[in-house]
């Protein structure tokens, strides 16, 4: 299959669906933005797609815990279809609030017996108790993540109030053992942030910024790769232009590779 089909969820405060869809299209995928109620009304349509995306946003305004209310809704209405989707050789991506939805649904990190549905980790209020919108550096950890093939480090923006990763000690060591930690926050010299703000923008345990599961086919990350898709997205773009006025704003940004990897998985 050359051109995978991507379903991007929208509704109830999800707000990054269009730029995320654009990123997939620009990498050669076919995309459909589907309202969660339309998907619930016809859940079988999920099997027409190869990539399922829960984009970033503020589902239900982050009330009752970010990603919680939408995860509850999906658990009640879409669970069998989601399980069938994951069981097939498909990809699932959750960005920012979407990562929280996947965690609250129990799709990430999944259980040691490779089952899904249990909530085992949490993303809670930032240690600054404040919403943070800033660019961060990330180091790819040892994983099988399909989305991070060929990636060792990258720079992406975060924008969230509840991104502090937490897991009980035994779960954390199991995540390391099972190579499920996908990205860690780092400083500008690409050294682990070791919890220090602002390199680690939210106080995440072990600097964890992303997780993966199911041989790397399910991927959830706190930062926004779709917002670092091209040169003109980069915070140093104006200064780069000053030194090289002919720079092309369409040149790839560091986030693009994540979408390319997803699309190329099906080629």
């Amino acid at each position: 299959m050359a051109q995978p089909k991507v379903l991007l969820l929208t509704g109830y405060g999800i707000n990054c669906e269009e730029e995320t869809a654009y990123a997939f299209q620009a990498c050669g995928a076919q995309t459909a933005i589907v309202h969660v109620n339309d998907l619930i009304a016809a859940p079988k349509q999920l099997s027409d797609y190869q990539i399922f995306v829960v984009p970033g946003g503020f589902s239900y305004g982050d009330d009752t815990g970010s990603g919680n209310a939408l995860a509850n809704k999906m658990r009640h209405t879409l669970w069998p279809e989601l399980m069938a989707f994951v069981a097939a050789d498909h990809l699932v991506l959750g960005i920012c609030n979407g990562f929280q939805v996947l965690v609250n649904l129990g799709l990430l990190p999944g259980d040691t017996d490779n089952s899904f549905g249990a909530r085992r980790v949490a993303l809670i209020a930032n240690s600054t108790a404040r919403y943070e919108c800033r660019w961060v550096n990330l180091l790819a950890a040892e994983t099988d993540s399909v989305f991070l093939r060929g990636v060792s480090s990258l720079s992406l923006p975060v924008a969230h109030g509840e991104g502090r990763f937490y897991a009980p000690a035994e779960t954390l060591s199991e995540l390391k053992q099972r190579r499920q930690i996908a990205l860690r926050y780092a400083d500008s010299e690409k050294r682990p942030a070791r919890g220090f703000f602002p390199a680690n923008p939210n106080g995440s345990l072990d600097d964890i910024a992303a997780l993966c599961a199911a041989q790397g086919r399910i991927f959830g990350l706190r930062p926004h790769p779709e917002r670092a898709f091209r040169s003109s997205h980069m915070p140093d773009w104006p200064e780069r232009l000053a030194l090289a006025p002919d720079s092309d704003w369409r040149e790839p940004g560091p986030g693009r590779v994540i979408f390319e990897n997803a699309v190329n998985y099906f080629s």
């Binding site: 009304a41 982050d62 009330d63 009752t64 919680n68 509850n72 108790a129 104006p238 232009l241």
Partner: protein, 1004 residues
């Protein structure tokens, strides 16, 4: 409020105290309040109170839906162990206040159970603070209470350890709204004494008498005697009956300063057409005529926002609003309602534009000012302190903007003592709309047609916001109604906003749309009715939050997150199905007609039936006259330069409230969402506040939308004409500097005035408006939208119970929007390459009136306390040749950096250029200049630029006529060295400057 046991409490809290971040940070915050006791620990619980009977199994199910089992514990109908806490405080909402958390919780339950809660069931949120502290005094409790709650909208329940234990925890309180049902319409007699009429206009219709026999009125109508006389005359002669209370309330809304801008519309001195038509619309009209085919305006002053051409397929819209009075009372509620409200001015533009960028601007007093103010004598009704106001308004825009998925890129903070009584909260939204819909309709044109259904959608109507429009037309005093305060619900709005601009508009499902803002449906329906000349409404069909509202309350309620649509009957089934599927409540409440009348019935009884013409145009024309306000400008005697600690003053400038880093605000706002951010709020690796931002709204187009703004309140104190010219020049120059051609720039005006009945204040207003006209016409930059707020005064008492009035400085905010042909012409102000030449383009002068430097000298007692100086005066026309040459150079990509000089002058430009990327500079001040005056004067019309050394000679040649001064070079290290006549005048480093720059708001 009903205290009852017919409810259940779910208390959710972090199992591990280490994860209770809010509690940990709150401890520090409380200890910074100057309490008599030390707070040792604070722990939080989130409480959901369920109203109605629920089984234990059902409650456990609810808990499972609302908590996170990985980190939370939950107690059901059981008090949490106090641990070492000595006092407990619960904060919940008062009845009827928007409770977004509870709203989402109710939706979650409905999702899980497949059915919404029953009418006699409910869910309410609250927060409990468990505080470990010994011997908390009453004053301590008051201080803590003021930080954690706002008594206008929230209840605070305190218990000490013993009563908490004795009562087995906090009480189960259910804040259900209970109103007396069956309120009727009444007639209002206008044949009363003049004193009675004045009371009616100022304090409102008599509602009832209380037990002591005092007359209780419904709240200000803000109608003056001539207006009341016109109303009395209309009803006596044309309708031959008395007006109903609803009609009078509706007229008060429609004729309010807020809606009709009576002062801007009034004839003033020799200007028969008034300030708005003569100077603001007049400027745009003249510019559009002169531009001819090059006109960029498409829809100006006729809709909820103004629109200019983006490209062949799209328009961009812009609108900037204020929300000052509500923000003084409840800063969070005021600002969130403001930002979410101005988003609707985008969705309500044309057939519905999509909001793509938010703007903000906060004018407050020094947040370190702790001198109390009171609204009532004897130390009653204390006004919120500047710091509390600042924190609240920052939070409100954060929640409103971020939850709505609209990038909040462009904004500012401005500090001035005059904002202590009433802050100014500016909120704006830029929108994008295809020029034509899929069916080929021009999207900026709309008209309700006779027979169209009147449809309201979004949130329900409650008592919140009653008298909002008339309230902002009166100065703030002790009698201000708390019902004017409300809290926005961005998710409810996000749902309908998406449904309209992403689906319904392209499917052509409605003929017209407008926002419900001030005056609620009384204004929106009556306004749309003008498009077809009539309307008929069945008021009982309007969905309400709770029973018992009087008809007039339903008609004028300003409950937020609502739009009004005109829907052809044949399109209604499709629209209703779409909205219902998107979780949006929509209701037909009547139909548009061509009767020439606005007709409203309630349960079959006609409660309003009057001519639209009188409703909209019946207000008597006001004649205003002005009187010249004497100038306080004077000569400043400066100390000799050798007596001034120049290096120290230089560093202090970067710590000033207005010039220091405000990054703590902009990093709380998501400026990246929608994926179009190009020039961000901060510049360079050291994240220095910029003066403009650029967004690329379409991912395949190289075009950008550039935004900036400017205001000079300290100059306004001396000369409002100069303040407007300077603000327009700065707002325009900021966009030029980032690569926007002059021909693609449009402006928005926001006048926030004070004591607008005072002829001297009106003279200042007239001068300011005249400057707007002359400068905009000179630059060819049209006004496309504007708003004014005329009574920003505080009347009350100080700490010694002395009466005082604090008026805002007459404030003119100019916002600028421009379309960049190519984002590749963008440059920042960062010095990027060692050895690059640094030039100052344009010339200044020595006047320091209204400058940050003169304020600093006064504060440091280096000049007289009454040294106001003279404001910079200049001819904007003389600057145009420089701007035109500059534009060519920018388009050719010849500059490496540009900084348009503004507050702080050259010093700020040099410091920020250096700090951004950490490259210092070595500059020489010409022998003819006095160093401090050159560094700190705030003459507009100037740029600091850096460029490659090899093109320096070319620049000097081409800009020879425009005063081009070579100052020096960019350094390879972080040294900043400024010298004159071979001697070092001041020397510092990027690091020490950064420390100063970041210090002021470090703890915010």
């Amino acid at each position: 409020m009903t205290k009852t046991t017919a409810g259940h409490r779910l208390e959710i809290f972090y199992r591990d105290a280490e994860l209770d971040t809010r509690g940990l940070l709150l401890q520090d915050k409380l200890n910074s309040l100057g309490l008599s006791a030390v707070v040792e620990e604070v722990r939080l619980s989130e409480v959901y109170t369920l109203e109605g009977d629920f089984s234990q199994a059902r409650l456990k199910e609810v808990a499972g839906l609302l908590l996170n089992p990985v980190v939370h514990d939950c107690l059901i109908d059981e008090a949490r162990s106090l641990g070492t806490a000595e006092v407990v405080l619960e904060v919940g909402f008062l009845p009827g206040v928007t409770d977004n958390i509870a709203h989402s919780a109710a939706e979650t339950l409905a999702d899980a159970w497949g059915t919404p809660l029953a009418v006699d069931q409910g869910i309410y949120s609250s927060t409990i603070y468990y505080i470990q502290v010994a011997n908390l005094t009453t004053e301590d409790r008051r201080l803590i209470g003021r930080i954690l709650a706002n008594a206008l909208i929230q209840r605070l329940d305190w218990k000490d350890r013993s009563s908490y234990v004795a009562d087995k925890g906090m009480d189960c309180i259910i804040p259900r709204v209970r109103l007396e049902v069956g309120k009727k319409i009444s007639l209002v007699d206008l044949k009363i004494s003049e004193a009675e009429l004045i009371a009616l206009g100022k304090e409102g219709i008599i509602d009832h008498c209380d037990e002591q026999g005092n007359i209780i009125r419904r709240g200000p109508l803000a109608l003056d005697l001539p207006s009341l006389a016109a109303i009395a005359d209309y009803f006596a002669t044309l309708e031959q009956r008395q007006p109903t209370d609803l009609e009078l309330e509706a007229l008060a809304q429609t004729w309010s300063e807020h809606c009709k801008h009576t002062i801007f519309a009034a004839a003033i001195d020799d200007l028969e057409e008034g300030l708005y038509k003569t100077y603001i619309k007049g400027a745009t009209k003249k510019i559009r005529q002169e531009r001819g085919a090059e006109d960029i305006c498409v829809s100006v002053f006729v809709d909820n926002s103004g629109a200019i051409i983006f490209d062949d397929e799209y328009l961009v819209t812009d609108k900037v609003e204020t929300h000052n009075s509500p923000s003084a009372l409840d800063p969070f509620g005021g600002s969130i309602t403001g930002i979410v409200g101005v988003n609707r001015d985008t969705v309500g533009f044309g057939l519905g534009a999509r909001p793509i960028i938010n703007r903000y601007g906060f004018c407050v007093a020094d947040p370190r000012d702790y001198e109390p103010l009171y609204r009532s004598p004897g130390g009653g009704n204390q006004a919120l302190r500047p710091r509390r106001i600042l924190d609240g308004i920052v939070d409100g825009v954060r929640v409103g903007g971020n939850c709505s998925g609209i990038p909040t890129t462009q904004g500012f903070l401005t500090f001035h003592p005059g904002y202590k009584g009433k802050p100014l909260v500016f909120v704006g939204t830029v929108g994008l709309i295809p020029r034509k819909t899929e069916s080929g309709r021009l999207s900026h044109e709309k008209a309700a047609r006779p027979g169209d259904y009147i449809v309201v959608l979004g949130g329900r109507v409650g008592l919140d916001g009653i008298h909002g429009a008339t309230f902002s037309s009166e100065a703030l005093t002790g009698g201000s109604p708390a019902t004017a305060v409300q809290i926005g619900d961005p998710i409810t709005q996000k749902k309908f906003s998406d449904a309209i601009v992403k689906e319904a508009r392209q499917r052509n499902l409605y003929s017209s749309i407008t926002d419900n803002g001030a005056g609620g449906i009384s204004c929106s329906v009556a306004e749309m009715a003008r498009e077809c000349n009539g309307c008929r409404v069945d008021l009982e069909k309007v969905p309400v939050k709770y029973p018992g509202m009087a008809p007039w309350e339903i008609w004028i309620s300003e409950s937020q997150e609502r739009m009004t649509l005109a829907v052809p009957p044949e399109k209604w089934p499709e629209l209703e199905a779409l909205l219902s599927n998107r979780g949006v409540e929509a209701t037909v409440i009547g139909e548009f007609t061509d009767s020439g009348r606005c007709q409203v019935s309630y349960q079959g009884e006609m409660v309003m039936d009057m001519e639209l013409e009188f409703l909209h145009n019946g207000q008597p024309v006001k004649y205003l006259s002005t009187r010249v306000r004497p100038s306080v400008e004077n000569e400043v005697v400066l100390p000799a330069l050798t007596e001034l600690p120049l290096a120290e003053l230089f560093t202090k400038m970067f710590k000033r409230l207005n010039l220091a880093s405000h990054a703590y605000v902009s990093t709380q706002y998501d400026f990246e969402v929608q994926g179009g951010s190009v020039l961000k709020p901060q510049v360079g690796r050291n994240q220095i506040d910029g003066f403009a931002t650029v967004v690329q709204p379409l991912p395949e187009s190289s075009k950008g939308v550039a935004l900036s703004q400017s205001l000079y309140p300290a100059v306004s104190d001396l000369d409002t004409y100069a303040a407007a010219v300077t603000a327009i020049d700065t707002a325009v120059r900021n966009l030029l500097a980032v690569g926007t051609p002059l021909s693609q720039i449009a402006l928005l005006d926001n006048f926030c005035w004070c004591s607008s009945d005072d002829p001297e204040r009106l003279w200042q207003l007239k001068e300011c408006a005249r400057a707007c006209y002359e400068t905009a016409v000179c630059y060819g930059t049209p006004f496309i939208s504007g708003k004014d707020s005329m009574y920003n005064d505080f009347s009350g008492y100080d700490g010694q119970d002395q009466a005082l009035t604090i008026s805002v400085p007459p404030t003119i905010l100019i916002s600028s929007i421009g379309v960049m042909p190519d984002i590749s012409s963008l440059r920042s102000f960062a010095f990027v390459k060692p050895g690059d030449l640094i030039y100052l383009l344009g010339s200044g002068g020595s006047d320091l009136g209204g400058s940050e430097y003169l304020s600093l000298l006064r504060e440091e007692s280096l000049v007289d306390a009454g040294a106001w100086g003279r404001v910079p005066r200049f001819d904007p026309g003389a600057l145009l040749p420089l701007y035109r040459s500059l534009q060519k150079w920018i388009a050719a990509g010849l500059f490496r950096s540009l900084y348009p000089l503004a507050q702080g002058g050259l010093a700020l430009a040099v410091g920020k250029g250096s700090m951004a990327e950490g490259l210092g500079c070595a500059l020489k001040i010409p022998a003819s200049e006095r160093a401090d005056l050159l560094l700190f004067n705030e003459y507009p019309g100037r740029f600091l630029v850096s460029l490659a050394p090899e093109i320096g000679a070319k620049l000097e040649k081409e800009f020879a006529d425009n005063s081009c001064t070579r100052l020096g070079r960019v350094q390879a290290d972080e040294e900043i060295i400024i010298s004159q006549n071979g001697e070092i005048s001041l020397q510092t480093t990027v690091s020490s400057l950064l420390t100063a720059y970041r210090s002021t708001f470090a703890g915010f």
